[in-house]
């Protein structure tokens, strides 16, 4: 029997947008197992959050991730609100949904673009990122910032959006949908793309369940799990269904993201159609006291916040479990038995966010 070789994949690798090292145990060109090494971008944000007051934390928490930033601050705010017994006004809940879904769209376009880049399809990568720019512009026009929106606050949102701006968002969605209709058949039907994605990195439903996969990774393996169906923010009043595929390979994960892009278009249109008028936040004077677990569906999967308050300005403990953290054990199962050349595609197919994971 040949002797196994261990080669490092990352932390700096052309395919990886962020630093994670996978020590690949190889038998010839085939991966036997992978050992993950994390800790390259740990910033100690959980500890820092305990030293700031709970209002300042809203802006700090947003900086855990540069892609799903709004949903981080939303989950944190929902946790603090449930501790203090606050209910944000309906208009704020709808605005939260609109910004969350814009975030999901730009994140999925980024992820599918990076996937295209990982198997060398640079043209498609640039087309998808060009489409993403329309969404970034819509976010900047409605909130004042491209990524770190800074609009979610305890008790609602900080900024209202005028009817004209909501109409301009709808216009943007028309452009985005037209471009998606052009690019998505390439991503899903192209012969060479299918050759790289179909049957690669298969995650069985049972393994996905046992290893705690979340988000599109779990849904692509046939697990109908989407926290939006639980109805947080205004999702309860909108038509949301989990997008489920059963193949469990890289192609299925991509397909789930593509279907979710169209679903997000639909959800934003529903939300803009139903958004009520009224106030956008509720005043409060209390301090957070008690313990709470707050969850929300990020583009990459379920994020979980554990918050513990003690009736003062400072939180006693803040703990974040991000979706990529939950998706690392499943990706190790996908890597076992794959070809070395497929490692990059498989890792990118879960849309890893290492800065999130290490906080």
């Amino acid at each position: 029997m040949a002797k196994n070789t261990i080669i490092p994949f990352g932390p700096q690798h052309p395919v990886l947008p962020e630093p994670i090292q996978l020590r690949l145990v190889l038998d010839e060109e085939r991966v036997v197992s992978a050992i993950p090494v994390v800790g390259y971008v740990h910033r100690g944000l959980e500890k820092l959050a305990e030293q700031k007051d709970f209002l300042q934390d809203t802006y700090l928490i947003e900086r855990i991730c540069g892609i799903c930033s709004f949903i981080h601050s939303l989950t944190y705010s929902m946790g603090i609100e449930s501790m203090m017994g606050l209910t944000p006004p309906p208009r704020a809940q709808y605005l939260r949904v609109i910004w969350s879904e814009l975030h999901r769209m730009h994140s999925h376009l980024l992820a599918t673009g990076l996937l295209a880049d990982s198997f060398g399809f640079e043209n498609l990568f640039m087309q998808l990122w060009r489409t993403r720019e329309h969404i970034m512009d819509a976010m900047e026009a409605t909130t004042g910032a491209r990524v770190l929106l800074g609009t979610c606050c305890i008790g609602g949102v900080r900024k209202d959006v005028s009817e004209e701006l909501l109409k301009s968002v709808l216009q943007t969605l028309v452009t985005v949908e037209k471009e998606l209709d052009e690019h998505m058949p390439v991503l899903l039907n192209d012969y060479s793309v299918k050759q790289r994605l179909c049957g690669v990195g298969i995650l069985d439903k049972q393994v996905a369940y046992e290893r705690g996969a979340v988000g599109p990774t779990a849904r692509a393996s046939g697990i109908a799990m989407d926290l939006r169906t639980q109805g947080y923010a205004a999702y309860g009043e909108l038509d949301v269904e989990p997008m489920v595929e059963t193949d469990g390979d890289c192609y299925a994960r991509t397909k789930v993201r593509v279907r979710e892009l169209y679903q997000s278009l639909n959800i934003i249109r529903q939300a803009i159609g139903k958004i009520p008028s009224g106030s956008i936040n509720v005043p409060f004077k209390t301090k957070p006291d008690g313990e709470v677990i707050s969850r929300a569906e990020q583009p990459r999967g379920e994020v979980l916040y554990y918050l513990k308050g003690n009736g003062t300005d400072m939180l006693e403990r803040l703990r974040v479990r991000t979706p990529t953290f939950a998706n690392i054990p499943p990706v190790l199962a996908m890597l076992a038995g794959c070809e070395l050349a497929d490692v990059g595609v498989i890792v990118i197919s879960i849309d890893p966010c290492i800065s999130c994971t290490e906080r």
Binding site: E133, H183, S192
Partner: protein, 100 residues
């Protein structure tokens, strides 16, 4: 196999998607959080902005001189200070900081 060919020809005919930055700068969106500015005539140097700033980017002194200093490299442009200012002397300029 040739699914993207049509898109390639379309791109050859269409305009550039990018600009020649910094020679050509996009007009900022109204209400964009570009950079923080202060009107020193209205400021009472109460220091609330410095106390609330999540990034400790603002420093305010009252003695011996009244000063208000912003560290632009620490500022995270969240505009929380603008919200809490009792005299509304702080505002966000939609234009971003340029290369200086």
């Amino acid at each position: 196999m040739f699914t993207i060919i049509g898109n390639v020809f379309k791109n050859l005919r269409s305009k550039y998607a990018t600009r020649l930055y910094p020679y050509e700068v996009r007009t900022p969106f109204a209400g964009a959080r570009g950079k923080l500015e202060i009107d020193p005539d209205i400021c009472i140097y109460c220091g609330i902005c410095a106390k609330r700033c999540p990034a400790n980017a603002i420093a305010v002194t009252r003695k011996p001189d009244k000063t208000w200093t912003l560290d632009p490299y620490r500022c995270i442009v969240c505009s929380y200070c603008v919200e809490v200012c009792p005299k509304k002397c702080l505002h966000m300029n939609p234009k971003h900081r340029s290369q200086e």
